[in-house]
Symmetry: D2
Subunit: 309 residues, 4 copies
């Protein structure tokens, strides 16, 4: 490093400065605002170059270096950037959010202050049906007649919740106790600060199609509207290498290799050894999650499934 060559003004990102403090609306009454940030794509590069030294200069330009770092799961250069957001989120989604332990958080306290007088509401066409193939997910929407009933019941219940909360406060109950029956979907606010490496991990999990819709809505805005403006090269690399890639296990790799070599017999043998091809009593193969996930990947890649003839 040559200290003198270092520039003497702070990193700033005009594209992010433009939206600083501007609220992005989420759900019916949620929001996300950028409060502050530190670093940019260049800070990632700068940190990598100090670590990996002069050698990295030859490897590639900045974009190539960032792609290399993300592909090979180098993490510390991305920690050199931080983002601080102001959030307004239903507590229900917030319960998932705070499980990301590397963030710094200051949340509105409902011991010190009154709870925010807002709960997430559901329109009649937004009630989601329990998925049958995915224990944790939803699949499609209820018809809006039933939905309208549910929405009416939701409104009535939320009004009653407010009445109960306010009644307690009026009678002098401590705020810390009065809040105990607030609905989980009551909005809360927080400052949330995260470094870029851990933020990308958050986004990989929470923008994923398996994440619950509510937190996915937040994560998608953070990713596509905020991070993409802040660190565009890192964002592009994240989408390519982390978010939209395909992973094959050792077994899958071996089957692909046998398949590629035209040795279908060997490919089938590997799958059989893995216990994927046991016959079901009803005919066909028994249900095997691993086999089915692999078949889905083969289909996506337009590659033949060796045991389907």
């Amino acid at each position: 490093m040559e200290p003198r060559a270092e520039k003497l003004i702070r990193t700033s990102v005009p594209a992010l400065d433009e939206i600083l403090g501007q609220p992005f609306k989420v759900l019916d009454d949620g929001l996300i605002r950028v409060v502050d940030y530190m670093g940019d794509d260049n800070a990632v590069v700068q940190a990598a170059r100090v670590s990996y030294g002069a050698g990295t200069r030859k490897v590639s330009d900045d974009r190539g270096l960032i792609r290399y770092l993300l592909q090979h799961r180098h993490t510390t250069p991305f920690e050199m950037c931080s983002l601080k957001l102001h959030l307004r989120v239903p507590m229900d989604a917030w319960r998932q959010w705070v499980r990301h332990r590397t963030a710094s958080i200051n949340e509105t306290s409902t011991r010190y202050s009154l709870a925010i007088d807002s709960t997430q509401t559901t329109q009649s066409d937004q009630w989601r049906i329990q998925a049958t193939d995915n224990k944790q997910g939803s699949d499609g929407w209820l018809d809006s007649d039933r939905g309208a009933d549910l929405t009416r019941a939701e409104n009535a219940f939320q009004s009653e919740a407010k009445r109960v909360y306010n009644e307690r406060l009026e009678l002098g109950v401590a705020r810390e106790q009065a809040r105990k029956d607030l609905p989980l979907c009551t909005y809360t606010e927080a400052y949330w600060k995260m470094d870029l490496h851990n933020l990308l991990h958050f986004l990989a999990l929470r923008m994923d199609s398996h994440a619950q819709k509510e937190i996915r809505d937040y994560a998608t805005i953070i990713g596509r509207e905020i991070v993409s403006r802040w660190v565009p090269l890192t964002w592009e690399a994240f989408e390519d290498f982390r978010f939209q890639g395909t992973h094959f296990s050792r077994i899958e790799t071996d089957i692909l290799a046998a398949n590629g070599a035209g040795d279908t017999e060997q490919a089938v043998a590997i799958a059989r050894d893995a216990g994927w091809l046991k016959p079901s009593k009803k005919g066909g193969l028994i249900r095997s999650r691993e086999r089915m996930e692999f078949e889905a990947k083969l289909d996506k890649l337009n590659l033949p499934v060796p045991w389907r003839v």
Copy 2:
């Protein structure tokens, strides 16, 4: 270190083994159970001796060493022990609990499973009054007539909450969405694993009289019933040095020293320079939080307040 001298069987603590898996009841329907643990007082000593070397052998016996480590805020030897608990806690208290980010947590998911059919209820003599001198606390109890009304309203509201939840499920709404209006005090369960250093920090904050009663009830059991059995020397040192000690700031230290030297004038001058002794318009001194906290400490120590004559 002499590898051969090391004992070859795992550390175990008979006093803790005796209560392994046994539920401690907390609140109306909560519980704490020890599921597993690693290490004991001796593991703390062993780790300290490898760090601080042969020299520490002379310093003192094990008890003295543990006291020294705690007094001087050495932290890593205490990290060598871990405790794993099974908890059943209202989500409201759990929201505070999960803010301790160094724990490992597996909580029941209400996306995968039905919510636990239990909410924290309040008896008629348990409604706490909002404290006036402490924004975040409570002070005393409502009379039980009003309490009885509040308890009836709580019961009715919680029944309605269940009905709404079950109605949604019956109509096919996804569990992840049906739960959105559950009361905050709905019980949840979790495995919670923490190392001893961070556990003591948790206990220092959550056994404190300023902590909310609900989480304080849990913390007190973890401290007095579980940690005290598991690592009795560490627990004793924690009580002496961390939980029941007194801390004086630089200003307070300077005033104490002037006072001790009999120089009341100097003691008063230091307080005045700190802005503690400004006259109020109504007579007397203005309200100063720092001065008042110091006066309370002097009173506790039976030491004179220099500016009170």
Copy 3:
């Protein structure tokens, strides 16, 4: 969870108990010993079941569940297990080791105690040649004549280092200062405690062929000799899904899909858009790290490289 059904004795793993305290030799004078542990494969399963609830019982047996958790990068159930090792490692390798920040560490202090009187030495056939294609690696060995010269010089230098250190101590120099010129390869000892999730991350990086040989030797023993005994199902899943898998980026996935569909033209077009196929002035294609890594993966899978005809 049904508290009563919980077993009341601590988890233990006989296969690991057998080697408790037994030193595994590493390098010329290093060692690894298991001091203590908490949890086993079953603790992972237990934690997952509390999180994902009754639903997971149907998904699969324990082995299938562990495989599912590892494949889909669920992390918290693996945090429920911890391993505590006693290590003796050259400080040079230790400098890399301590970069894993989630571990708890107590290292011998060379302020309190004398430095360990042992340095890593190199036999004449162990001098590695700087790799040319990999800035950070080595490739092959120096001939043993040159090696013998280097080893003699190493011995002489290490003797001189000891002499200098001891001379300072004899003259009364403080240990904390006397140590300043000790060679980086001086052995140090430590207790090192890590949870299983972070341990697997450590092993994925440090057992990798790109890791430096010294730390790789340690990691390989921890993985293949210790973790494999401790949590055999987790270890098998780790090898299959993390350590020996193959990852394709979005671009690579798109090319594979075009290739699979027989549309070589489209496959080539994707690569061209990615900037992989620019002609070099000398003929052939310009050097592109991403393209070359992909070609290597295609070769491994016996799949054709679309732009090679």
Copy 4:
């Protein structure tokens, strides 16, 4: 929170901007430079107010609030600020530095690059004598005649170390192996990013008189030259409440209270129960570290030692 009232430009601290990128010299060839930062005193206040709500507005002005937060060990508001430094430090001190695990670090790699051609050298009047009352410390300086001999030997040894390193490189040994005998005091460089809460913890430990002189020199500059400019209110509160305060244990508090009440007998009884007053065979009291540390505190406060008559 009222989103609209939020200012839309990033926090900046002119007093810190002035020294951005400017190297502070440390030791003979070390340096510290501020590369970037996020937040300021106001960001601490802003985060506290969102947590503790409207109520905190009355408590006090910003300075009072920051003092309150530091006194009562509130931590999260201070995490909202981050500092990024460029450091040049001997690896020996760096070994202590990296034990602070909450930092983000990118260090020069001596696998990728050549080691920095600089080692910390010691002038003839800088050789410190091993302390006798403090196993880990030093106390005074060797006379400069002996010092001159040691410095000559140091120079010769460091030259030899360079020769050995360069000889290996010239013969083609891999950088990762050639470095193995570099002296611990070889300089390394790094970017180091830390949030303000954890930075204050680092400073409390490393500016302390028990810290080794080398790292104390760095910490003192970071504290007094950098943090004091960056967050002056936080720095003042840190000095008052954390760095220069006095802490009394439960036993000490009880003795102080008995003493204050004029009950010397009771004060002595408490000390006796604590095992502090056992007679020594040689006459006088046995050595008791806890008693002696308490006596030192009493002396500092000009308070009488009850058992000294």
